[in-house]
Assembly symmetry: C2
Homo-oligomer: 361 residues x 2
């Protein structure tokens, strides 16, 4: 067995310890004689798995008691509909457009009411976070929506927008559990787990309890009502048990590795290695405004498409996988999530330096 | 490692060979240096996995070219909404009520139009399949809906209803891939995979192409539109990659074990062992009308609640797990899906015979 350094934007690298434990227990989970994949979701064993997972993510994020944690299916894309269906009492909400995923959420919201563009960085290919200190938020808006870390473009909100007292809804898919967070500043935080947490097929939604009501828009599917899921502790129907189990192992791994504070330190160190190199390179350059740079997703280019292609091909051959930029953007992107070891980033930077010395004209 | 015989109704037993292969490849799938859980869903490797899975289920079921195969999230419960949202052009459909899941689908459909009860077996606790040869189907109905195998009650449609030319929509969650099927008789066949196919977290919907249109009900979430998923070959957003992978391994296992004809023979043999015992027992009896008995889910009782409890406890101690009946029904239930070996059923019947000799007054 030989493992590569996997810079995929998602699904993405998982901690090797977690995969080893999962592999060892695949046929027989803790002596119970069956796999977690075969276990009734109503069994005592699975009840322990899901309750422990919830309790651990509550510890990690410091989730206040008046927030529910829901394990849901359909990814962030399904929450793009669930958010307005559950929250649009006045049928009006504000969206800050910082990339493709924020735009998709905004377009989906238009199916259900008036979605207002409050700010956008589309003018410079989403390479920065717009000033959100004084947005045209009106009193009748049900919420303000952001995509907090933009996987494709490599930007991150370093300061949350001034929502003028309105509810903040945030998609944190690509920065989930990457640093400490003050949950009480949000109405809803949610993220697909397949980037920084676990295997694809689940979204975790953390929702302030008073926002979970029966007053959804008419025609909201029972499965998309947060109340259905909250009333049943995410067991209204069969949940994605294996994904919950693996996420639970990742939560334990995070707790054993310094929690979110520990992750932040490690992530800042990793990002600094890469950004420092980019800032001093004569061949490569980062594409994002410095103050808005993501710790998780680092896009960069040489400015020469042919050279970019060559870089992607040669880095792959060197065991550095998935460095190609998103299909809508081009260039390169290194996603350096929690589970990417520092050695992976060092190896990448060494490879880039070597490539630069060979290819700089 | 010691494996039990797991009679869970779902999530349920998987083939041991499949679990062994998955465990061996958990950290490094076929030498690519990463887990299937870490793989981009847009990668060549995952593309092979999902395309092979689709091609294998097409072979197994003989799915005609004019049907799409969609790998979706949210379980059957989410399809309860997707079915009317995608199909209710006239806002009217007929439902045959043969148990809890058919009832839930019927209630969900009422959110979107007129759902008509065409027949029901509620009068005798859903212990039989009603006569469906001449139902009050009207010309303006968009479809006729059934739950083909009723997991909780242990009944199965042995003959499909006469739909009088109307589209048939069938939830096959608990009899999926258990015997050959003529797909061309259906408009839509769908099933959650967590009973007879793979790990929880996915539903496979097999849909006649002409039924996949943009003409959904207003307010249908993009993720619930079958057209979104069909146009993107189930990759509109990140799919449940691991679940697709395991299902693919199960499809290979089915092909290597005689396909659906081979499964039918094995399943008939297993069911016969158990039903023959029940028919001759002086302590136990099956609860379902003989001609409507499921090959997959076999409910039975002693008629004495205390004795039922004793049976469940003692069978568990003997390595026969999850024989307790559904919480809404009581008694016992043995789910004997494809992956349950004949030896498991033999061991169960031997245990029942022994229990009978010790407890018959």
């Amino acid at each position: 067995m030989s493992r590569v350094y996997n810079f995929s934007a998602g699904p993405a690298v998982l901690p090797e310890e977690v995969l080893r434990e999962a592999a060892a227990d695949t046929l027989d989970y803790k002596g119970c004689g069956m796999s977690v994949m075969e276990m009734s979701h109503r069994s005592k064993m699975f009840d322990d798995i899901i309750k422990t997972a919830e309790s651990d993510i509550r510890d990690l994020m410091g989730i206040p008691d008046n927030y529910k944690v829901l394990f849901l299916q359909g990814g962030a894309s399904q929450q793009f509909a669930a958010v307005p269906m559950n929250l649009m009492k006045n049928k009006k909400a504000g969206y800050i457009l910082t990339g493709q995923w924020a735009k998709k959420a905004y377009q989906e919201a238009k199916l259900y009411g008036e979605a207002v563009e409050l700010a956008s960085s589309a003018d410079e290919t989403f390479s920065y976070i717009p000033d959100c200190s004084d947005l045209p938020i009106t009193d009748d808006m049900d919420y303000v929506y952001i995509c907090e870390n933009n996987t494709i473009y490599g930007t991150k909100f370093k300061t949350l927008p001034n929502t003028k007292g309105k509810l903040l809804v945030s998609d944190v898919s690509s920065c989930f559990l990457s640093e400490p967070v003050d949950v009480s500043k949000y109405g809803v935080i949610y993220g697909g787990v397949q980037k920084n947490v676990g295997p694809a097929g689940m979204v975790i939604s953390i929702i302030r309890e008073d926002l979970i009501t029966d007053e959804c828009l008419p025609g909201t599917p029972t499965m998309l009502k947060w109340k259905t899921q909250a009333d049943n502790d995410s067991l209204y129907n069969t949940p994605p048990c294996w994904t919950i189990y693996i996420c639970g192992l990742v939560f334990k791994w995070l707790k054993n590795n310094g929690g979110l504070k520990g992750m932040q330190e490690k992530n800042e160190k990793k990002a600094a290695i890469l950004y420092d190199f980019l800032d001093n390179s004569k061949l490569f350059r980062g594409t994002v405004r410095k103050e808005d740079r993501s710790l998780m997703n680092v896009p960069f280019v040489t400015g020469d498409e042919e050279l970019d292609k060559k870089f992607v091909a040669e880095s792959k051959a060197a065991g550095l996988e998935n460095l190609k930029g998103h299909r809508t953007v081009g260039g390169m992107r290194a996603s350096i999530y929690n589970a990417m070891p520092i050695e992976g980033v060092e190896k990448l930077v060494n490879f880039m330096a070597d490539f630069e010395s060979k290819n700089l004209k």
